[in-house]
Symmetry: C2
Subunit: 671 residues, 2 copies
């Protein structure tokens, strides 16, 4: 890539591909001053900005590899860009500003009318981002996420929690263009990437970012490989994951273990028992909530140490739950407070955060002392020493921006987005210090640039227990595809969804369709949901448990194939679940598909995500002959076809010439 | 007022009062470029802006009475302000820009932390505007106007019509500050006045405005007087208005006249029969709609000419209805089309507007030919010659901004807000040409700067048939107070409200409380609502018609007092309904009150606007002894008191020493 001077500006260019062009009449850079207003309510943010100034930096002057930008030729330089080649094809613009007052930045990168754009973290509503703008700020993703639905209306009204299409636990200021370039902005500030314009994308950040990186390559897979190296690759999946499903059960020891044993007896292949409530529970109006005091609750799990050992002998692991906060009424809170491990408010007291009828201190991960204590006292002593093999490392999105002061002295507004990867790094280091990387599996919903390096597995957050367009089963696929392109190889979701509110209840059908999809993801895990008693559970009827058993057998049967994908993820950074177009660049019909995925190179999965469906229409990419997994029918690609889609036979196809054909052929005989 | 140079800027100052201050470090002027996106759906607008540039004009240079503003000392002048004294206390800044590319303008005028602000046209939700911003764009006001209510949610979802607190038929870029100054921006562009900042108000327009005017005076009443002169004063009310209520009945001739006669026989004092459907009807899903072909429907009103003459002999007038559009399927449409009286689209065809299941041509009032034709053919021949004494001059807010071309060649985006006063002027001129000004009464909901001069009476638009906070009875008071301050002396509303949708139905209680208020406004007029059959009507039960009869007697009894207010409106421009604070400047408790009003100088009215109320709390301003209208109890001002508030005895108080005391005392005996 090179920086090339033009008559009245400059451009960044790689062969024919212009990634950025700046001129006096069409400046690409703007700086300004804004006053934001950010309000937090239980992880939901109301964010407004009043832009005071937005100054086009029309005038540019180039000296060696530096560009000096100003409003006009005779006014002061406001920004300096340092061009640096990363490789022959990739480059970085490091940005200096002498004006500390400037806190708004806009840059326009190249777009063409028909471009597609993907990425921006884990996006749940839209895979192709073109035509919309995407505020990037880690938060609760919202309930319903669609202002035209009753559930979103009621969630907004009563909990400020309805959300919208762009709300996500895991935003990231990185995207891939169909012009075969990727762009990453190095900033943790609030940002907003706007893909609504025909001939540019406007990237906006609430600070002058440190740098902007551009990656180009001849194929999308090569670009994904580069990004996965840039952000860090995950360790291999632990061997025990391949044993079957992880059952989420949180009814206390007696209830959870007996229900799990029942499942095993009914033929369900079980890899783990995940008991969120290992540290205790509390009752709130949202449902049963966990007691955020991260240590074994001997009251709720009296024999947990012995039980974990016994489970391990049966080749089943025990998984737990933590968050980066400690509740005020727990036992660890006063210890951490005494040690000064929490973020403080302006009075110098612990800054408490409302998590919904209970308050917590924020463990300050910018303080090395806090990090050490959480690693040793919570993760290593309370969890690993107890024999726990994995956990949900929940939350990370709630860092308040007002009246909260961190040990590193950086404004909480700039640390808010950084928090998910800090939280991931504490977990990863605790595991690594014990030499257990790749053996322990924790999973997270929150994320940001850099999470890739630390978080071994994403989980798609708290879907509604339904098929809704913006918060149901299908959004999990969109989340896997968008995050996967940015170097997150492993993704999974709560089987059956999580959120049941305002009369929305999980049905048997929703649960079973979700099982069908999960068998073709790297990890199967059930969740009881926020209100277990009111929602359909896996062991509620015999059919469902038998169905689950069969799908776990299929999941296990695919182990050799999945292991090959895991190897590939380690070597190339390719995600296990991939958008169709990375394997079919020549077939533009694939570029917008967000409810089907390639499960590795050889399988195409099209989960059913609607109610009362008996058949399903699938697009099969051109240039391949596809074999239907369940009836061995061969179909030429380059067309949409409609196939029967009963529960238990979600539409899946494999490439006729796959080296895994034998393995795939056997699946239809698994009962 | 004077323009005073400062070290690094300038200020506009009147004695101690600084209305505008500009310096290099805190510029008051900004210009820029924006690209708006405006979508219309049946009078509801979705409006977005992408601001490309917002340049602070830090540098100022003063020469005589001109200020030259630029980004910096060595960059080109972008704006020139010409200072002009209007009077000793008032001034105007005329603005010139050499840069036609600039289409965004911001100016900051002075504010203090505790200032209140009022005006911005007819505001229905908030009287004191401080703490919010107010987009100013004439439109449908919305249904429910409150995003937390079910009716607004459903109206948004199904009709894009929910609205919000700032939506109004009558916006105006003019406000009064509690610092005793008024500010008016001369522009018909979309604007947004932002009163959320502690030390300035930011006024934003989507063009470089022609000028900004400042008026200062020692009292609020003096400022109101100045504004009413500036924008024009209304003629006196016609004598026949004082005869009683105008009954809105639209069931065709037989039904409307017989129900009116029944009301007269029951003792209701009737000033007029208002039959909206005089030109015919059509059925839509919203309810019965009128047939927009503005001439006597001999089918629906076979004997209307004779009936009108007979009515007049009984001292009752007939009122009709028109809008500034003609429906495609009417008889006038082809004539107007042939004459080229409509606004056109880019193909040169008539630009049709969707009014909800029917399309209309837009009569182009920038074309003198259209104006003449509408005046002579519709208003004079079809209405005045038939003996019609008044009408609802409806609509005016729907001028589309895309693909609509006007005779005067001005962009429809700039003419949109101008349309209401153009529409008013056509009506006023038609009446004036016949020498009937002050004898004919038409009333409008849409408005803008300048409507004052042409529109003899405002009506508050289409409230919901309920007591809701943002679209119910109480919003009418807010509308009267805010528009009244800007020189609209006469205001009234649909008794009982208008909009019944999504299960919202008018009750007997709502209707009767509305009657109680209307008796203390300049004009009483009932409305059947959009769905007459499903909503409570005045003659539906004997009690209600008797109650209405009594309240019309009270209205008529007040005629001498009301006439004195009408005289005052003509001489001073004071509105009939006034905020308490204009008469009680010393009592700061009155500054935020928006559900009580002074009915002239001597009466204080506090309409009941909630359900199931038996008593009501009223604030009585300090420095006066008040007499309760219904029980003659004397109360010292400067306190809130709670009084019984049965239907028929809405809380009303008069000044003990009023010259009208005798008249007021008799009211309690009217049965």
């Amino acid at each position: 890539m090179e920086l090339r001077q033009l008559d009245n500006g400059f451009e960044l260019i790689q062969n024919e591909l212009v990634v950025l062009v700046h001129s006096y009449d069409n400046p690409a850079f703007f700086v300004g001053i804004g006053n934001e207003k950010i309000e937090i309510y239980r992880g939901n943010f109301s964010i407004e900005d009043a832009v005071q100034e937005r100054i086009p930096l029309r005038h540019s002057r180039i000296e060696d590899d530096a560009v000096y930008l100003s409003y006009d030729h005779n006014t002061p330089v406001l920004l300096c860009l340092h061009f640096e080649k990363l490789t022959e094809r990739d480059a970085k613009l490091t940005i200096d500003s002498q004006h500390s007052q400037l806190n708004r930045f806009w840059v326009r990168v190249n777009a063409k009318e028909n471009d597609k754009v993907w990425g921006c973290g884990e996006q749940m509503s839209y895979f192709n981002l073109r035509g919309r703008h995407f505020p990037l700020w880690t938060s609760e993703p919202g309930v319903g996420r669609d202002k035209t639905t009753e559930i979103t209306f009621l969630s907004d009204k009563y909990n400020k929690a309805g959300g919208d299409y762009y709300h996500t636990n895991y935003p990231q200021p990185t995207f891939i263009s169909s012009q075969h370039y990727a762009c990453h902005v190095n900033s943790t500030a609030y940002s907003d990437f706007d893909f609504r314009h025909s001939n540019y994308h406007e990237l906006h950040t609430w600070e002058i970012p440190e740098s902007i990186e551009f990656y180009t390559d001849t194929t999308f897979l090569n670009i994904v490989e580069k990004l996965s190296l840039r952000f860090g690759r995950q360790p291999k999946l632990p061997e025990w994951i391949y044993n079957g499903v992880i059952l989420g059960l949180k009814g206390g020891e007696e209830n959870s273990f007996s229900r799990m044993e029942n499942a095993v007896n009914r033929g369900v292949k079980v890899a783990g028992l995940w008991s969120e409530d290992w540290a205790g529970i509390r009752q709130t109006s949202f449902g049963k909530r966990l007691f955020w005091d991260w240590k074994w609750s001997t009251k709720r799990y009296p024999n947990l140490d012995r039980k974990i050992r016994e489970l391990k002998q049966k080749n089943i692991r025990f998984l737990a739950y933590i968050s980066p906060y400690l509740c005020e009424d727990g036992e660890l809170y006063p210890i951490a407070k005494e040690l000064g491990l929490f973020a403080l408010n302006k009075k110098g007291e612990v800054a408490l955060v409302d998590f919904g009828e209970f308050n917590c201190g924020v463990l300050d991960f910018t303080n090395e002392k806090t990090r050490s204590w959480v690693k040793s006292e919570i993760i290593q002593k309370n969890m690993l020493d107890l024999g726990i093999s994995g956990w949900m490392a929940d939350f990370g999105e709630y860092l308040p921006t007002e009246d909260l002061y961190l040990h590193n002295g950086v404004d909480a507004k700039l640390m808010h987005n950084a928090w998910p990867s800090l939280w991931a790094s504490v977990n990863a280091e605790a595991v690594a210090e014990r030499g257990l990387t790749g053996e322990i599996m924790f999973f997270m919903r929150s994320g940001f640039s850099g999470s890739q390096k630390y978080c071994p597995m994403l989980w798609a957050g708290d879907q509604c227990v339904d098929f809704s367009r913006h918060d149901g089963l299908n959004t999990v696929i969109c989340g896997a595809l968008s995050s996967g392109l940015l170097g997150n190889a492993y993704h999974h979701s709560d089987i059956g969804g999580y959120t049941s509110l305002f009369g929305n209840r999980r049905t048997k059908e929703v649960f079973e369709r979700w099982v069908d999809m999960a068998a073709f993801t790297p990890m199967m895990r059930t969740h009881e949901g926020n209100r277990p008693d009111e929602n359909f559970q896996f062991d509620q009827d015999v059919n469902t448990i038998e169905h689950l058993a069969r799908m776990t057998r299929i999941y296990c049967h695919l182990t050799p194939y999945l292991k090959s994908l895991v190897d590939e993820a380690g070597m190339k950074g390719y995600p296990v679940q991939r958008p169709l177009f990375v394997h079919f660049e020549h077939d533009f019909n694939t570029y917008d598909i967000q409810d089907q995925y390639m499960y590795g190179n050889d399988l195409l999965v099209a989960p059913v995500h609607k109610k009362d469906v008996t058949e399903w229409t699938v697009y099969l990419p051109a240039g391949e002959t596809w074999v239907h997994l369940w009836n061995a029918q061969e179909i030429q690609g380059g067309q949409s076809i409609t196939v029967p889609a009963p529960i238990g036979k979600t539409p899946v196809f494999y490439r006729r010439n796959s080296q895994w054909r034998g393995l795939f052929e056997e699946i239809k005989n698994i009962s």
